[in-house]
């Protein structure tokens, strides 16, 4: 069964999705498969991580076709960590969706598409073939298109429209890049590409080519200047869907950037990685300034995704072992925290029926425990010790200082301050200030809040505990991230694992 381990994170969601399709009419069974399937996914990814951590990079040659010809599924530490995160988010959101997503959406196949989405995400993380990665991206995108439009309210249709358009343009560029890459090098296996590109005579062409990938993945990761689709679409679907999107989808773009720019395009580091660094800085700034101008819970959070993406790519742009370690750590921290914040916004929206900060208020008085659950991820996002975000930012800052990139470090610290301001704004408006008696343009706010249900609170609690654990046990997680970064910086082990003839 060990040979099957790296493909299990792809197989399990596919099977869960297929079985859910067979029970199209029974929501009850679909919910149970939703929770059970994602739970199994989480277990399999944890097993995968422990196996990779113990024995080194695992690879499977699909169909028994040896590496440069066939498709290789390969799990190094970075992939395995990402897969575990996908498992955690998948499981928490599936539990949350039980009551967090309305029955009408569930009857249109919400859970099926959640499984397909997770399959695409895990596939993108685990594949060792660039064209195969394109296919997984498309699988993930198709599912996300449906999820973002599911339910069909006018707002959602508009959001979906922008989301779909920008992502299709990005896919077309990605495909074009793959085509030219194949024309130049004659292989699609990423390890093989790494070997062969190191010997090519024409680094200028390769650098030009890398821009295709930078733009394609940059759109998906919502980097400056290509991020506008994200804040206009992420707040439209139900909170559970935004939570998965916020946690996983943009991070697939970041993963792809890191993978491609550490393994394949390392010919002209001065040019490409400095460009990434500049883009990162601008991404941080634009995101956080955009957030400052917003007064809707989830729109504020959406802009913060953009600004946080900048931190993750900053580690890539600095291109040292420490900075990549910080990036991996940052991604881990961010996925957990961001999903959690969106889940909290969903609970608030369900209770009060609105996400408009001007109409919210007084939640601390009525729901002190929920407020604490909001405060943990919010302060972690801003980077207050001893929460996970602090160590993530500390790592990046130290890495930046060691490389004497003072400009980006200053930007990062400044943006961090603004993030704190933004989170305080959310806290003050939604939780702290007294509840406005009569909202403008409405007759009277409802006097009673809808009761919270346990299945919606439990995932938030679990994610908050994970944040605390990452913060308190930061050293363990940092060491793991450090080893992952080591494998990224020196791809010899990766290449060897892929080229091994026997799987």
């Amino acid at each position: 069964m060990l040979s099957l381990l790296p493909v299990l994170p792809i197989v399990i969601p596919l099977l869960s999705g297929a079985i859910s399709l067979l029970f199209w009419r029974s929501l009850w069974i679909q919910r149970w498969i939703g929770v059970g399937g994602t739970g199994l996914l989480l277990l399999s990814t944890l097993r995968l991580l422990s196996e990779v951590e113990r024995t080194g990079i695992l690879s499977v040659q699909i169909g028994g076709w040896a590496a440069p010809v066939g498709i290789t599924i390969v799990a190094d530490l970075f992939s395995a960590i990402m897969a575990v995160l996908a498992g955690i988010i998948g499981f928490c959101v599936a539990v949350y969706s039980w009551y967090g997503v309305d029955e009408r959406r569930q009857s249109y196949g919400y859970f099926v598409f959640l499984h397909v989405l997770l399959m695409g995400v895990c596939g993108s993380f685990l594949t060792g073939d660039i064209f195969n990665m394109y296919v997984w991206f498309e699988v993930m995108l198709m599912a996300s298109f449906v999820l973002v439009a599911l339910g069909g309210t006018p707002m959602q249709m508009e959001g979906a429209f922008k989301y779909v358009t920008l992502n299709l343009v990005s896919s077309a560029l990605f495909l074009a890049g793959i085509g030219i890459l194949y024309g130049v090098v004659g292989t699609l296996n990423m390890a093989d590409l790494s070997v062969k590109l190191a010997q090519t005579a024409d680094p200028g062409l390769v650098t030009t080519l890398s821009m295709f990938f930078l733009i394609a993945f940059g759109i998906k990761a919502a980097m400056f200047p290509l991020f506008f689709w994200l804040p206009s679409s992420y707040h439209t679907p139900p909170p559970a869907v935004s939570a998965v999107f916020a946690g996983l989808l943009t991070k697939v773009g970041v993963y792809a950037l890191i993978r491609v720019f550490t393994l394949i395009f390392v010919q002209d580091v001065v040019y490409t990685h400095n460009l990434i660094l500049i883009m990162s800085g601008l991404t941080m700034l634009c995101g956080v300034l955009g957030a400052a101008a917003q007064f809707e819970f989830r729109r504020v959070l959406s802009f913060h995704i953009v600004s946080q993406i900048g931190y993750m790519t900053m580690g890539l742009g600095l291109n040292s072992r420490l900075s990549l370690t910080a990036s991996v750590f940052y991604i881990t921290h961010h996925i957990i925290v961001k999903t959690n914040l969106f889940l909290v916004s969903g609970v608030i929206q369900k209770m009060r029926g609105t996400g408009d900060l001007k109409k919210l208020g007084g939640l601390y008085k009525t729901h002190p425990s929920l407020s604490v659950l909001f405060l943990i991820p919010a302060m972690s996002l801003a980077g207050l010790p001893p929460l996970s975000g602090f160590f993530a930012k500390l790592g990046l800052v130290i890495a930046g200082l060691r490389l004497e990139q003072y400009c980006i470090v200053a930007t990062a610290l400044f943006v961090s301050l603004l993030t704190l301001f933004s989170m305080t704004k959310l806290w003050a408006e939604a939780f702290w200030k007294p509840r406005p008696d009569v909202a403008e343009g409405e007759d009277e706010p409802r006097s009673d809040d809808e009761p919270m249900c346990l299945t919606m609170i439990l995932p938030i609690l679990v994610l908050a505990l994970i944040t605390l654990t990452i913060g308190i046990g930061a050293e363990t997680f940092f060491n793991l991230a450090d080893r992952a970064a080591g494998q990224l910086m020196d791809p010899t082990e990766y290449i060897e694992a892929v080229m091994r003839t026997r799987s």
Binding site: S3, L22, V60, Q61, I62
Partner: protein, 137 residues
């Protein structure tokens, strides 16, 4: 649409197209064909029926829900892929077996056929789901 020509043509063409789809499905391993185009041609035969009559009658003709077709197809494909893993070979390796049909020659059966059947069902289901949904709205 109420056209006598289309009605008659669809009645005649429907079984022919389905038969052709099955032929393509099974011949696909060695000559052009395979699950994907077989699924499209199978779907075309039902689409023709939909245009000649209406969606409910096409659904009735199909008998199974398109969702069930997709689900079953995925399970077929995954099952064929997993079989080799349980036999100790790499995931998705093709396994071949066969038997002699007295007087007619050797028949080889392998997991790629199961996989193609799965693809056929998925393509049929997805295409019909799209066509039905779009013509119902």
């Amino acid at each position: 649409m109420n056209s006598l020509i289309l009605h008659t043509a669809s009645r005649l063409l429907h079984p022919l197209l389905l038969l052709y789809a099955v032929y393509l499905l099974f011949s696909g391993h060695n000559v052009p064909g395979g699950g994907f185009c077989a699924g499209l041609i199978g779907a075309a035969s039902f689409a023709l029926h939909t245009f000649a009559h209406d969606v409910p009658s096409a659904r009735k003709l199909l008998r199974a829900d398109p969702h069930t077709l997709i689900g079953t197809g995925l399970l077929f494909a995954m099952g064929s892929a997993l079989l080799s893993a349980f036999r100790g070979q790499a995931f998705m390796t093709g396994l071949w077996g066969g038997f002699d049909l007295s007087g007619l020659g050797h028949v080889s059966v392998g997991t790629p056929v199961i996989f193609d059947t799965g693809v056929f069902l998925v393509v049929l289901g997805v295409t019909l789901l799209i066509i039905f949904t779009l013509s119902e709205s």
